[in-house]
């Protein structure tokens, strides 16, 4: 059992303060609004979904939270392990990089963005470990094998490059690569986009298991309502850069208040 799992089962992961507090976050591209006036709290172990149509500012928001984009205004306060709540926007770059290698994980929509395609699967999983100082080849390889097992990739494929993997396997490898350092917060940008439905279902099942078992907090950006229904505890609906509605997932999906949310929910095909 890894440290984060143990911490979760002993209840140590449950804290009396939010893991992530976002206050008045805004990002504009010139005169156009990327996202504006976004505020929320994310508690340890909680999964939040962000839904909205294309161009509604979901990805901008996620990138601002993960430190890939510099927001124009607002605070993103993360409860760090060592130093308590810190504003990641004003934090020095080395500390932010350290966070993104240890406590944070980012799962890209396209696995090619998140994986090194020229490096074997084992190397991909091991990279974060080596970046934080692991220097024992045997241990790194054993951890990589363990994680490949957890995301249901055969151990025999450890030395194959991701380019030889199917889309679903690449996505699962990307998840293994991100979770190997036991992060506390995972950002996911359309994790199931571009996969066929049966592979999607399997991936969602896996993700749900990992998130629950490791007690991870996650922010999942998607336009697929089925994904948030399965994964997310809470839901935020975005339109034109603004949050138009937020609440418990089932509450928002079953009783949408805002006109846009009603449109979104009624647009889903019932098979």
């Amino acid at each position: 059992m890894t440290a984060p799992e143990r911490a979760f089962e002993e209840g140590a992961g449950v804290s009396d303060r939010p893991l992530l507090q976002v206050r008045g976050l805004a990002k504009t591209y010139g005169a156009r609004i990327g996202c504006a006036d976004v505020s929320f709290d994310l508690w340890p172990g909680e999964v939040m979904g962000i839904v909205g149509e294309s161009g509604s500012g979901k990805s901008t928001l996620l990138n601002c939270l993960a430190g890939h984009l510099a927001p124009d205004r607002g605070e993103v306060i993360f409860d760090t392990r060592g130093h308590g709540p810190r504003d990641t926007v004003t934090m020095p770059e080395p500390e932010r990089r350290m966070l993104s290698r240890t406590d944070w994980a980012f799962v890209h929509q396209n696995p090619r963005d998140g994986l090194r395609m020229g490096v074997s699967a084992g190397g991909n999983v091991g990279e974060r470990l080596m970046a934080v100082g692991a220097r024992h080849y045997g241990d790194i390889r054993a951890t990589a094998l363990d994680w490949m097992g957890r995301v249901e990739i055969e151990a025999a494929r450890i030395d194959d490059r991701p380019s030889a993997f199917s889309g679903g396997m690449q996505q699962r490898l990307q998840i293994a690569r991100n979770l190997v350092t036991g992060p506390r917060l995972v950002f996911m940008d359309e994790p199931t986009g571009g996969l066929d439905v049966s592979v999607q279902a399997r991936l969602l099942d896996l993700l749900r298991g990992l998130v629950r078992r490791m007690g991870l907090s996650a922010i999942v950006v998607t336009h697929d309502l089925a994904v948030v229904r399965l994964l997310a505890d809470r839901l935020m609906v975005m339109k034109s850069g603004h949050v138009v509605e937020q609440g418990l997932t089932d509450q928002v999906l079953d009783d949408p208040q805002h006109g846009y949310t009603q449109l979104l929910v009624s647009s889903v095909l019932q098979v």
């Binding site: 080395p94 190397g123 974060r128 970046a131 080849y137 390889r141």
Partner: protein
């Protein structure tokens, strides 16, 4: 201007200082960076030695030596211990360097992260933030594929616990000589417009894994001419029937040993060979 870059490089060991590389009377890849650094270091009383893969008598070494003999008017030598400035391509002389000597390396690609991360902006940021996990990924891949670290030249090193540096394509056999060297070591990359340096007695560590430690390997033979067991060897094919001999790549070291009476398995007596 190059001297200013050199001073900065010496002040920040292992850091790649950009400089405005000039046109040289030779093509890129023939040592334009080394020639500029040598030219910036030479004083009239200096004695220059130029080696190419350890040898004093190859085209490149002879041409550069003659060039400086004519243009700078300095004395030249083939003896490592008599030289004050040594320009080298791909080797460190076997004879231990002394205080006061300057070793100038010709460097083709100064960026150790280049083949892992093609963006210059990103590699610079990685150096600035000491984000060197990727370097070990490269070594991991070597072990995963070949069972051992197969990188045998341009083996990455860490300088004073800070910058990861490409030691130029010297064999990894030479890597231990980089560390705690009494001589000043300067690296010039002409095409890539970078200068970096190791001041005397700098701690240089070759990267490795705990369970796959760094191994400065060489061909497992004595030199066929001088019998040296401890020098880096070139393999020379002697016929079409698989015949081969191993000889010191450092010609000055080999000749010095033969003059002192050492003899390898295939050597003619030294006096005979000299005439």
């Amino acid at each position: 201007m190059i001297r200013r870059a050199l001073l900065k490089a010496v002040a920040v060991p292992g850091y790649q200082v950009p400089f405005a590389s000039r046109e040289m009377p030779m093509p890129y890849g023939w040592g334009t960076g080394g020639v500029q650094v040598t030219a910036a270091c030479l004083c009239p009383e200096d004695v220059l030695k130029v080696i190419d893969q350890g040898a004093d008598d190859t085209t490149n070494a002879v041409s550069i030596r003659r060039f400086f003999e004519r243009t700078a008017g300095v004395a030249v030598t083939e003896r490592t211990d008599a030289a004050t400035v040594i320009q080298t391509r791909h080797r460190i002389p076997e004879t231990p360097l002394a205080e006061g000597q300057i070793l100038v390396y010709q460097v083709p690609i100064p960026e150790p992260l280049r083949f892992l991360e093609p963006r210059e902006t990103e590699t610079r940021r990685m150096h600035a933030l000491e984000d060197y996990g990727l370097m070990h990924v490269r070594l991991y891949e070597d072990i995963a594929r070949h069972g051992t670290i197969a990188t045998s030249y341009a083996y990455p090193v860490k300088v004073e616990g800070r910058y990861v540096m490409d030691p130029s394509p010297i064999p990894k056999f030479d890597n231990p000589k980089l560390s705690d060297c009494p001589a000043l070591q300067l690296f010039g990359a002409g095409r890539e417009q970078r200068i970096y340096a190791l001041p005397p007695f700098t701690r240089v560590v070759s990267l490795d894994f705990e369970d796959h430690p760094f191994d400065p390997s060489k061909a497992d033979h004595p030199c066929a001419l001088c019998g040296a067991e401890d020098s880096y060897l070139d393999e020379v094919i002697t016929d079409d029937a698989g015949g081969r001999m191993f000889v010191c790549s450092d010609t000055d070291y080999c000749a010095g040993r033969r003059a002192a009476g050492h003899q390898g398995a295939l050597a003619a007596p030294f006096e005979e060979a000299g005439t």
